[in-house]
Symmetry: C2
């Protein structure tokens, strides 16, 4: 792509197009928006990204991205230390925090087991979780993993591995069923069948 | 939104969500992708944005964003100086350059006349265009403006204003009709009627 606008603009577009959800066309639109709103958007975003690159680290306890280590959640004395919620990624942790219904701590795996993608147990943040449970004081481990084959395989693998630790921690799973506000007509057959089987 | 991840991450998400095409959810995904790919994406994109903020200027002749002033197109002696292609924004200029079928120079208006949005002639880069045409040596001015009410109003306003200059410049308009590869069934009635009326 040679636009005559200079290599700096083309490099900006090329890098923006690597963001999830942005293709070449939306990357061009984003680049134009940045260049046209230099003071309001381009410079503040550059500063925010520089800040994030300088300050964001991975929490040594739970693996979450944070500007503190241990992260705010792990070092908050008001949170329940007897519960650990296991999530795939920070995005799931953020979703749980937005809901605000969980007051325990987290463990971010950093992925899911997948034979297809070659993700093995040693590629996930599993040893840290085992160490936290072995240390004791954990009463419940909530598997908040996706309801996919990889998510469920990973959840069962973790439950198996924790079973051998001879501790009192119970492993629980997020309920599955009809989403709140969900219309049966739009749901897949598997969800409907599952919701019917586990009706209460 | 309090995610416990620190204000730096939340600020990054808030600014990313201001980019066109990104909402709150896709901004969170983009922020996570940036933070997880620090060396490959976050740092190179930060550098590219800093570079763009430092070096990109508006060409004093045509109004295009460029790292040079006059821009590469305006200072290229190989380009036809007798033709000016008038576009709304840099994105239209980039689209024309990708096609590579135009060898003249450009003029970027920076918007379109709009009674609804309160955009008046003095808000556009019009005086520069008039000055370029008045200087002489221009044989053709191609109106490559959107086929919308605003685009056509702007094109006719410009044509009227140039008519008074007593020069030999001809004003032309991009042809309208069925897009290449376009199926009649998917086209709006206005386009089909226009294509039929101007058949050849």
């Amino acid at each position: 792509m040679a636009l005559g606008a200079g290599p700096e603009i083309e490099r900006l577009m090329a890098l923006l197009s690597k963001l999830p959800g942005l293709g070449p066309r939306s990357a061009r639109r984003a680049a134009l928006a940045l260049l046209k709103r230099r003071e309001q958007l381009l410079i503040p975003l550059t500063v925010a990204m520089q800040d994030a690159a300088d300050k964001v680290v991975t929490c040594g306890v739970c693996g979450a991205l944070s500007t503190r280590n241990p992260c705010a959640t792990c070092s908050d004395p008001a949170r329940d230390t007897t519960m650990i919620c296991v999530v795939e990624e920070d995005s799931a942790l953020w979703a749980m925090e937005r809901v605000g219904a969980f007051s325990g701590r987290y463990h971010v795996l950093g992925g899911l087991l997948s034979a297809l993608d070659g993700v093995r147990p040693e590629d996930l943040r599993l040893d840290g979780l085992v160490a936290r449970v072995r240390e004791g004081g954990i009463h419940e481990i909530i598997m908040a993993l996706p309801a996919t084959v990889e998510g469920q395989t990973t959840a069962h693998y973790i439950a198996d591995r924790l079973k051998g630790l001879q501790n009192q921690a119970t492993v629980t799973y997020l309920a599955r069923g009809v989403p709140v506000g969900g219309d049966l007509d739009w749901l897949d057959d598997g969800t409907i069948a599952h919701a019917l089987k586990t009706r209460r």
